[in-house]
Symmetry: C2
Subunit: 129 residues, 2 copies
């Protein structure tokens, strides 16, 4: 089995995600990374971090993929909390406390879920008043 290594680029990506209050896309991470490493490297780092369960993925309603640092202490099976995707500022935030409840036919086996709410975040809905 492959032993994962700590590299400057990997550390930087994880740091960026740790500092960020919102979920970031590959492009947003790239902007912050600048010339520290190649575009392709960021893709590969994100893959590894996902594999190691250090970050997780959410899908925006417009189809863009965003990454978030996992806040939970230990690896979990399913990241079953909600995300909020603001239609105005396009920020995606974790709503750790919002957990959907649902009933699903027993013949479906659920391994993962994505629950994304979209609309106006507190900042942007304030602006609209």
């Amino acid at each position: 089995m492959k032993v994962s290594r700590n590299t400057a680029a990997k550390t930087a990506v994880l740091e960026i995600l740790t500092q960020s209050k919102t979920a970031l896309s590959h492009t947003e991470i790239q902007k912050q990374i600048g010339t520290l490493c190649d575009r392709v490297t960021i893709y590969r780092i994100l893959d590894r971090l996902l594999n190691d369960d250090l970050i997780h993925k959410t899908i925006n309603l417009d189809g863009t993929i965003k990454y978030v640092k996992c806040r939970h202490a230990h690896p979990v099976q399913i990241h079953n909390h909600a995300h909020f995707s603001c239609q105005k500022c396009h920020e995606v935030t974790c709503l750790e406390s919002v957990k959907p409840s649902y009933l699903i036919p027993h013949n479906y086996k659920v391994h993962d879920l994505n629950f994304t709410l979209s609309g106006l975040c507190p900042n942007c809905s304030f602006d609209q008043i």
Copy 2:
């Protein structure tokens, strides 16, 4: 205001979505359309159908956008039912009966939501026994 027209291509796209039991991506629709119309035309047709609320959009967990014919009789504000995305056969199906319930902080204004469950569909989980 623009008056929407019925064209062969538009009718064909809607027919494909009507016949399909699963949600289809642009690429999947294109495969079925063949040479009937251009790739770009399909994008524009899908935009119009979305606008007319004849179809709706769901996002797969891998970030691919899929389209489904709306089954509801009348236009609705929010398509708040769940979708199931199979990790094996990659089919996306509507779970009309599965409606998530959730509590969200009052300062968020929800306009739309996407609730996608992922795992093995009945067909594929049967195969694994």
